[in-house]
Amino acid sequence: MDRNHKYVLPILSFIVLAGLQISSFTAFAQGPGPGQRLPLPPIPLKSDTTHTLSQHFTPASAAQKAPDANGFIQRWLVLEPVKKDIVRNNIFTDNYLKTAFSADNFSGDYTTIPKNGETVRVGTQELKWYALDSKAFNFNLYHFTYAINKPKYGILVWLVTVIDCPEEIKNVRMAAGCNSGSLWWLNGQEALLLSGDRDMIADNGTSARLTLKKGKNIIRGVVINGPGMANFCVRFLDEKGSPVKNFRIRYE
């Protein structure tokens, strides 16, 4: 979500006050005066901060993977981010999203399955696909972009995954949450649009009733975000709202 403006005033205050800094942390007999800000105390790093995927993800293996205990799909082919100039997330109207997703697209074939490690061209950018399993129920794209040392804010990220169903499953709904806007397709058909300035909330939006075919089903998605932590989660729900778990996930 876009809260960066929340900090403009404090940041400006800090800059001004830092210039006028008249005292040290310990010099305030009863704390600093009104409007004055303490310099932050030393804050040790609490974990590994190197740019590595292994902190939040594992490379997807060739073996099929089950959804997690709550049905969330943790395995995704993720494309490096398309850099976007986005100041605020509340610009993500339906029209904005459809226009942006159409313009910054790697393929108009929504059933195409990219290969892990291959690169594709989006506009002027050459971008690489990663096949990853998230260690959490959600797939945190901020962590992904940090790990590959790419822009973390103002990004558009394409996603693909494949699920294999042992039998046809009717009347399911794709359920997704994202920060901030996204669009999802199932087997080439548009299934769910999440527009606006959204938080990553499980089941924030659901599709119309869908049918998962016996065998291979291709999910394509795209998430866009300005300030804040780009993030998403996807699962399928049955007619009672319970998670669908009777499938396996692969990326090839």
């Binding site: 809260r3 929340k6 900090y7 404090p10 303490l38 974990s47």
Partner: protein, 480 residues
């Protein structure tokens, strides 16, 4: 008499057209307010950037609060005879590196000789890389254990729970943070009836009238969670049931703080990102807390209007103790021919009945509500600048007249021919935690007693001590 009708009608439309929902009055401009705290008869709240608001009555607010340290989004809790003030040092830095600090003061009144903050102590940090931003603290002193809990964090990852020492305000030795929610901010905890409630703000802030801030809640039997919403979704998955969202021109409520005034009377302090009536500024808001099916939800600041005042005791309506005037329409017998044209019957009018009423003091009753003029009450913000936590005093007059409800020195309730603005004619109206209302006179003449309008019998109103456990003390306002 026709003129009275016209005045009444005009008054109604003027009220209807001009009615706006005010958050608070004075200069209640603040962002990220701390839970409103009372100190020596005055109310205080502190905001982002330092400083804070003070109110003598809880309705009119002005600047003057002093909270050093800058940063953002403080919270305040009274523990024993001291106040613990907690704040985030950074207000959320772009690199999400932050710290939560606590400090004590014996008083919140900057004019008091006892006003002196202790040196701030760091109780939590975020290193800029972890999935948490150490700002937006909220505290709960667990009434069952006496343990002091603090939640903090923003949309940048997780909201975390830590334990403080209520004697020192420092972090409990060995305590490790527990993740309790994701992608929300301005969290705080409430305990009620065996449940811990985690309230937090979702949506976006700081964009004026375009801010989508809203307060949601999940609950757990354990302080450490998981906090689930009304559909069983964990707040660690973004779950949350709505507590308060935008209402009319008050846009984007956030930063919930819980205030228990007495049994059955609870309020929330919040800020609205934008008050359209006040140039879109961020303002302090105070609303009743209503508990419905085990969930907190924002009640309503009382809205001016014309109502039946219904006693919850039996469901009768408050009325002038005057002769019942039959409507000039005879009953139609079942055996009569039924082929006459159907014509509407005009409702009984004030002018039709009031000519027979006494002109002086008239007593009150509670009776079968018949939608008659002696049973309808117009309630408006009194021409008086004083108020109480979350609302102004109201004048209550019989609709279409200036005949006003008034408390007497012997703790009874009457009507006087004309509203004079005397304090015994000013009424406080609080929505209670069960959604009903209590009605209290500002004063009882020659008495310091705090009493409420109650039903001593089905048909007899009086003034007596408020008792939340009795329907005698509760009223509803009905629009028919």
């Amino acid at each position: 008499m026709k003129r009275i009708k016209e005045i009444s009608l005009i008054s109604f439309f003027v009220l209807w057209i001009t009615q706006t929902v005010q958050a608070q009055i004075g200069r209640p401009f603040i962002h990220d307010p701390s839970t409103v705290a009372e100190c020596d008869g005055k109310y205080y709240t502190f905001g982002t950037g330092g400083g804070g608001l003070i109110s003598h009555d809880g309705w009119t607010w002005h600047g003057g609060g002093v909270r050093p340290g800058g940063g953002a989004a403080p919270d305040v809790i009274k523990i024993g005879d001291r106040y613990l003030v907690i704040y985030g040092a950074t207000g959320g830095s772009p690199n999400h590196k932050g710290a939560i600090l606590t400090m004590w003061n014996k008083t919140l009144d900057p004019k008091s000789p006892d006003f002196k903050y202790s040196e701030p102590v760091v109780v939590a940090t975020s290193d800029g890389y972890e999935e948490n931003d150490a700002i937006d603290p909220g505290v709960l002193l667990d009434p069952t254990t006496g343990r002091l809990w603090l939640t903090y964090g923003t949309y940048f990852g997780f909201t975390r729970l830590i334990e403080l020492d209520p004697k020192t305000g420092k972090r409990k030795a060995g305590n490790k943070p527990v993740d309790v929610a994701i992608v929300c901010e301005a969290s705080t905890l409430v305990f009620r009836d065996g449940w811990y409630y985690l309230l937090a703000t979702h949506g976006s802030c700081c964009d004026g009238a375009n801010s989508t801030y809203n307060v949601v809640v999940g609950r757990s039997k354990k302080i450490t969670g998981p906090y689930l919403d009304n559909v069983g979704r964990s707040m660690l998955q973004g779950g949350g049931k709505m507590v308060v969202a935008t209402r009319k021109g008050l846009i984007g409520p956030g930063h919930f703080g819980h205030i228990i005034l007495e049994n059955g009377v609870e309020k929330m302090s919040i800020h609205y990102e934008a008050d359209l009536e006040q140039g879109g500024r961020s303002v302090l808001g105070i609303l009743p807390v209503v508990w419905k099916d085990g969930w907190p939800v924002a009640g309503e600041k009382f809205k001016e209007g014309t109502y039946e005042i219904e006693s919850v005791r039996r469901g009768y309506g408050l009325e002038l103790a005057v002769d019942f005037t039959r409507m000039a329409v005879g009953p139609r017998g079942f055996g009569q021919p039924n082929n006459e044209p159907v014509k509407p019957i005009p409702a009984q009018q004030l002018a039709d009945v009031m000519k027979n009423w006494p002109t002086g003091t008239i007593h009150l009753r509670i009776g079968d509500y018949m939608s008659r003029p002696h049973q309808q009450w117009t309630i408006t913000d009194a021409p008086d600048t004083t108020g109480y936590l979350g609302g102004p005093y109201y004048k209550i007059v019989l609709a279409g007249t200036d005949r006003a409800l008034a408390a007497t020195a012997d703790a009874e309730v009457i009507t006087v021919p004309a509203f004079t603005g005397a304090p015994e004619q000013l009424w406080r109206i609080d929505q209670l935690t069960d959604g009903t209302y209590r009605i209290l006179p500002k004063t009882v003449p020659d008495s310091g007693r705090k009493v409420a309008l109650v039903s001593s019998g089905d048909s007899t109103p009086t003034l007596a001590e408020f008792d939340f456990n009795s329907d005698n003390s509760k009223w509803n306002f009905r629009i028919h």
